[in-house]
């Protein structure tokens, strides 16, 4: 009997693309610290539980005759089996706690554990969003204090705290713009201009809010083409969505000129603030004439990404857009108490709000983490964050541009991320091969094939929490891999060789989607 039929088998690279299996595969597929783990559906049982629940008192059921009679099909595991299952799975993940995670535009920095401890304080973690407002004044104080910091750091008028992620924040900003246009009766503006270097969420957001999207090209040096933008402005344009610092890792030098031109043409400026960590404490977006910008609290102010979420995306607003901010929000009363503006008081306090965009007040768990991080750094430390993240990125850029093509290297210093292209690799070698080879070197790869304006893009963001030593290691590894890719080393093409899995077949996954587990016996019977 084999317990783990599809399991991991330790393999080792040798010369060429030949990869030989290590002598003597094991009975379980496990070897020393390299452990395979079946699915809970393959090992658990519907009769097993890892919790002890007190008996239910005997009462007549009042479920309206809708008792669930059929099996649900949820296997259980005892507590030790559960802990072991997830601990084993965790060991198949790369994470920032294990090493450098240079994903450009994703900002993977150290996650201080004080933030986690604070977020779990019962006064934050164990309070209900609909408790009477005077029983949660401390929670609203967190919102208020964080809002104050964000407004001062951005020099903006007002802030909407409820958006639940960066893209949700974009939606909030775009809805503010649409509300402002409607309020002034300017409903013929149906176009939102989006530079081609923008995050994919920008055009998706504009479309989701009912706008049409038109692209604006980038200049050869990687910035928005100001002349092209100006030429497209007109009475049908609602506004522009722009990322600054942009996804080429560059500061948009013409940002103020762009804002002025858009305003002169009657539109509004949305700024994607995903990369705020590059300029926090050194540049205040409010000084650049923008009308709305979301701040990814999880990026700039360090909430752990948790495998892809949750995030949090408060939106700072200019005076022009402030009246349209969503419900609910917190205001301070004359007596110092904090008050929650909801539907009932909206008429008097905030008549032009576009409404509610999520059930409750936003991502409180992220607010406590972000505020903790901000207080830890202070105004001086946040500025140092921007400086060190920019210094680290430029150090990467200048240490690698002799082995990898850096399309915007000559454009001057980069901000918090450095971009390279696949130009100069040997015939048939790609960015993907470099990324997968980095895995064998013990690093998480950089962002690949983004932004689209650079062919075979490799976008590297080291962040400010990397030491010079860890940067030097990464630079050494990437120089070596780049050298092999230029020399046509075929072993790269089958990398990774040492990860828990070899390259995975994504085409098959999309062509014949298997999105839930099916019992093999039943699945076979069904076919």
């Amino acid at each position: 009997m084999t317990i783990n039929q599809s399991g991991w088998r330790p393999t080792m690279g040798n010369s060429g693309d030949e990869v030989a299996e290590v002598e003597g595969a094991t009975f379980t597929g496990n070897r020393a610290l390299m452990l395979e783990e079946p699915l809970i559906f393959e090992r658990g049982s519907v009769d097993v539980t890892g919790v002890d629940i007190e008996d239910a008192p005997k009462v007549a059921s009042r479920l309206g005759g809708l008792e669930r009679n059929r099996d649900i099909g949820l296997p259980g595991l005892s507590e030790p089996e559960t802990v072991r299952h997830y601990t084993r799975l965790s060991r198949q993940n790369y994470a920032i706690d294990l090493g450098l995670f240079p994903l450009g535009s994703c900002t993977m920095k150290h996650n201080p554990r004080l933030n986690e401890r604070v977020a779990r304080m019962p006064g934050f973690a164990d309070v209900h969003p609909l408790q009477p407002v005077d029983t949660v004044q401390g929670a609203f104080a967190v919102v208020d204090e964080l809002a104050d910091w964000l407004l001062k750091l951005t020099n903006m008028t007002s802030i909407a705290m409820s958006p639940k992620a960066g893209a949700h924040g974009e939606l909030c900003g775009v809805l503010c713009i649409k509300s402002a246009l409607e309020k002034r009766g300017d409903t013929e503006r149906k176009i939102v201009l989006v530079p081609e270097s923008a995050h994919g969420t920008n055009p998706a957001t504009a479309a989701f809010a009912g706008f049409k999207v038109e692209n604006i090209p980038a200049t050869p040096e990687g910035r928005v083409d100001l002349e092209a933008l100006k030429a497209r402005l007109g009475p049908d344009v609602a506004g522009v969505m722009i990322t600054n610092p942009n996804t080429c890792g560059l500061f948009e030098r013409d940002m103020k000129a762009i804002s002025d031109a858009v305003h002169d043409a009657g539109g509004y400026v949305y700024c994607d603030g995903a990369n705020f960590n590059a300029i926090v404490g050194r540049v205040r977006p409010g000084d650049l004439g923008i009308d709305a910008m979301h701040i990814n609290l999880h990026k700039t102010f360090s909430t752990p990404h948790g495998g892809g979420g949750p995030g949090s995306g408060p939106v700072v607003l200019s005076e022009a857009l402030a009246p349209f901010a969503p419900l609910p929000f917190v205001t301070r009363q004359a007596d110092g108490s904090l008050h929650l503006v909801e539907e009932e008081t909206v008429g008097e306090d905030h008549p032009d709000s576009f409404g509610r965009m999520t059930a409750f007040h936003g991502q409180m768990g992220m607010f406590t983490r972000a505020l903790t991080y901000i207080l830890s750094h202070g105004a001086d430390g946040l500025r140092q964050v921007a400086e060190d993240s920019v210094l680290n990125a430029n150090y990467i850029l200048r240490s690698l541009e002799d082995v990898l093509e850096a399309p915007f290297g000559p454009s001057g210093p980069c901000m918090h991320e450095a971009i390279f292209s696949d130009a100069g690799l040997a015939e048939g070698f790609s960015t993907l091969d470099i990324a997968k080879a980095l895995i064998d070197e013990g690093f998480h790869p950089m962002t690949m094939y983004f932004p689209l304006v650079v062919h075979g893009a490799m976008l590297i963001e080291p962040t400010e929490t990397e030491s010079k030593g860890s940067l030097d290691q990464f630079i050494g590894a990437l120089r070596s891999v780049a050298g092999r890719a230029k020399a046509g080393d075929e072993t790269l093409k089958s990398a990774p060789h040492f990860a828990p899995r070899r390259r995975l077949d994504e085409t098959q996954a999309a062509r014949k989607p298997m999105l839930v587990w099916k019992d093999p016996v039943q699945a076979e019977a069904a076919e």
Partner: protein
Amino acid sequence: MRYLPLTDADRGEMLARVGAATIDDLFVDVPEHARFDGPIPNLPLHASEMAVERHMGRLSRQNLSAGDAPFFLGCGAYRHHVPASVDHIIQRGEFLTAYTPYQPEIAQGTLQMMFEFQTQVARLLGCDLANASMYDGSTACWEAITMARRVTRRAKAILSSGLHPHYVSVANTMAKFTGDVLETGLPELTAEPDTASLIDRIDDDTSCVVVQYPDILGRVSDLSELAAACHAKKALLVAVVTEPVALGALKAPGEMGADIVVGEGQALGVGLQFGGPYCGLFACSEKLVRQMPGRLTGETVDAEGKRGFVLTLSTREQHIRREKATSNICTSSVLCALAMSVHMTLLGEKGLRQLAARNHARACQTADRLAKVPGVEVVNDSFFNEFTVKLSKEARPVVRDLADKGVLAGVSLGRLWPDAEALANGLVIAVTETVTDEDIEALTSGLEEALA
């Protein structure tokens, strides 16, 4: 600065390598007018771990936390006991500090967990498949309405009056901008949900009917007839579940014919957290998968034929389709999904059924006890762990008064519908396994006093 590893000597060496004299030389692209020099005024400087913890602790203690009071609030956020090992697992750095699994070879832990989560959720909700989570229940609900519009090419959605008013609010907000037409209404304080009236209103322009199960007043009703009525007009039935523990006792919406089932997973593993982060659930039938928003994990094989998992069907998503994407959602609540998945694994079918049975029985006991209080009338015939009472006076000030006595009594309908006089005396009471006999006594005597 404890989180910043560079020393001044490092900075000097690195600037030399970069070819810059000072750090300002790296900010040359920032025009003069946009520069900000020196720390921002009126903001404090950096602080020690101890000082920050003390400050945040002080703010935390200004709140009355659920564990410190008899607690009966629900309406979309529920207090259940979360086993200690759930938090232990989500705090493992390899889960906590990983990114979206863009490199599947070194992200199998997260990917396998997401695949398991999708399977657990699909089974719990009674659907073919589920995605890897959304922001929360309210945004998942709106995404379901837009998905129904894409599938049916119709723009009119009928929302049950039993749907959480904040979910309705979110949908109304969005519909103002997208051109969707929503029909909504106020619930009545009666034992009967509005199923008959929903069926009457379905027509050839209807994209979907959205119904909550159990509904905002805690009532449950068979959705089969409603599903059949929707399907007869080629409309979809969207069911919203805000309390997933209920499905340990109640028939699943998918089993009764719902085409899309969305919900809030918070009750399992996530905790109250003052409203967020939560875990939006999204499940549907197999034939609708390519119209589904959000992230999906699929099974595949690696170059050696071993089973592995990858993010898949991403051609629906914003990073590929840009303005043609099914949604602008670019993430999922993976860590919350992990918490929910671990909790479901610990419970298993047996534990979930026991938990649900205990919730229901305790709620029945509480309802019976409250029914004896003068001035209290229990509205529901049917319910799971949450029911509505009609008080002899306005509920909102009563809740306020009970909070002064240290009892968090429930959610007044006046908080949810400030302008609806007919609902002002309604109070929704949630009773989970965390509620003790003493808690029930405190609530009862508090209400007796307030209504005397």
